[in-house]
Symmetry: C2
Subunit: 240 residues, 2 copies
């Protein structure tokens, strides 16, 4: 059983802000820090799609000026995480089913490319730790349905791949795509049987990596994403 850490539920209206609610951590923070903080909240599910993001409330909460919040919201809009209209509060972007499939279609390609590039850039032996990881701890997590630990390791797995792929723009795009579907994909992992199948598929991927077969690793990774998509399709009512 897994519980996402239930942060303070700001709910719909946190208009009246007393000094207690100010988060001193971001006092006078840089723009990037604010962007990153908001990004985390949105991707982590603390701010649900449709939530109004009011500039003054956020400004007081973060202890920064309103313009900085405005800039952050603009950046997040470019990133696709929030929607903005003139003279209306920004809201956390909603993602319909078509959007999810569009992103998964892209991720199928790009995650595949990512793993192939990683294999091409590193000696095959260097992937042994992933074989061990997926046959040891990860298999155990799957048995125990330990979704949280599984997700943490998968995240590191992906981070290692993007690092090895050594393509900053691919990196950036994958980061964006993952952000926009993180909620849904993470919940997919909790579906019955998904985590076990996921581990099985990724075991094949890392095996191909270990043997230095980039093309095969790419094919298997794409298959892995397609399998994810099948789960989303099947359980769409539950996920959205």
């Amino acid at each position: 059983m897994q519980t996402f850490d239930s942060k303070r539920e700001t709910g719909s209206t946190a208009t009246v802000v007393t000094a207690d609610e100010r988060d001193p951590e971001f006092e006078g923070s840089t723009l990037e820090a604010v962007i990153e903080a908001l990004r985390r909240r949105i991707c982590g599910g603390a701010l649900k799609p449709g939530t109004r993001l009011q500039e003054v409330a956020l400004a007081e909460e973060f202890g920064v000026s309103r313009v900085r919040i405005r800039d952050a919201l603009l950046a997040l809009q470019q990133r696709g995480l929030v929607d903005r209209q003139k003279n209306r509060s920004a809201i956390v972007a909603r993602l319909d089913l078509k959007g999810v499939f569009e992103i998964l279609e892209l991720r199928e390609n790009l995650e595949g490319l990512c793993v192939r590039l990683a294999v091409e850039n590193r000696p095959a032996e260097s992937w042994q730790y992933l074989v061990d990881l997926f046959q040891g701890p990860m298999a155990r997590y799957a048995e125990e349905n330990n979704v949280e630990a599984y997700l943490v390791e998968v995240e590191r797995f992906r981070a290692d791949l993007t690092l090895a792929a050594d393509n900053s723009i691919l990196n950036e795009m994958l980061s964006m795509l993952r952000d926009r579907t993180r909620n849904i994909v993470d919940r997919t992992t909790m579906l019955p049987g998904r985590i076990q199948q996921g581990v099985k598929e990724l075991q094949l991927v890392v095996a191909a990596m270990r043997s230095g077969d980039g093309a095969e690793a790419e094919r298997l990774r794409r298959e892995n994403i397609r399998s994810q998509r099948a789960f989303v399709q099947r359980y769409q009512n539950f996920l959205l």
Copy 2:
């Protein structure tokens, strides 16, 4: 403490800007319009990489406030077209050879995906006009080395494909990637033999599209991009 004399020209702000260099076209334009205008200038080569983009100068030129320029520059930074550092002027982003290859690697995948999705979404007969285009006018442009007309048509070809692919996020990403390499890729077309080879390759692509073979069209389009990359590699000293 300064006195506010009550000038309430709400409709028309009587700014004391010399009218010489102002471009009245953008007077009071929306943020998106400013972003688009700057984007065009950068992609079109009017603003070369490394050019300083000073906020006040741009603000006066476009006849908009400085904050709007700031917002536009922030958006273009997210898009990868400009670089910004704290307390320094934004500059048009420089792209090194590695960056070009990174982008071409991505484009190889995504343009391929794009053409495959387009084929899957439309009846094969609907592509007849492309067969005609590439065997008629485009072949002529190649013979005459009419690079300009060729580029215009290729641009429309790409626009049609992205429209048919019907994946807004893919659209957005391809648009971004094309923007960042437009200068270099356009110049590639002028290299000896490139335009003829390009037409030949694209003739094969549209033939596959016309026969409804999405997978083959994808493969051929990827080959086409790889061929572009080979030209860039070969003539890198001239191009950069």
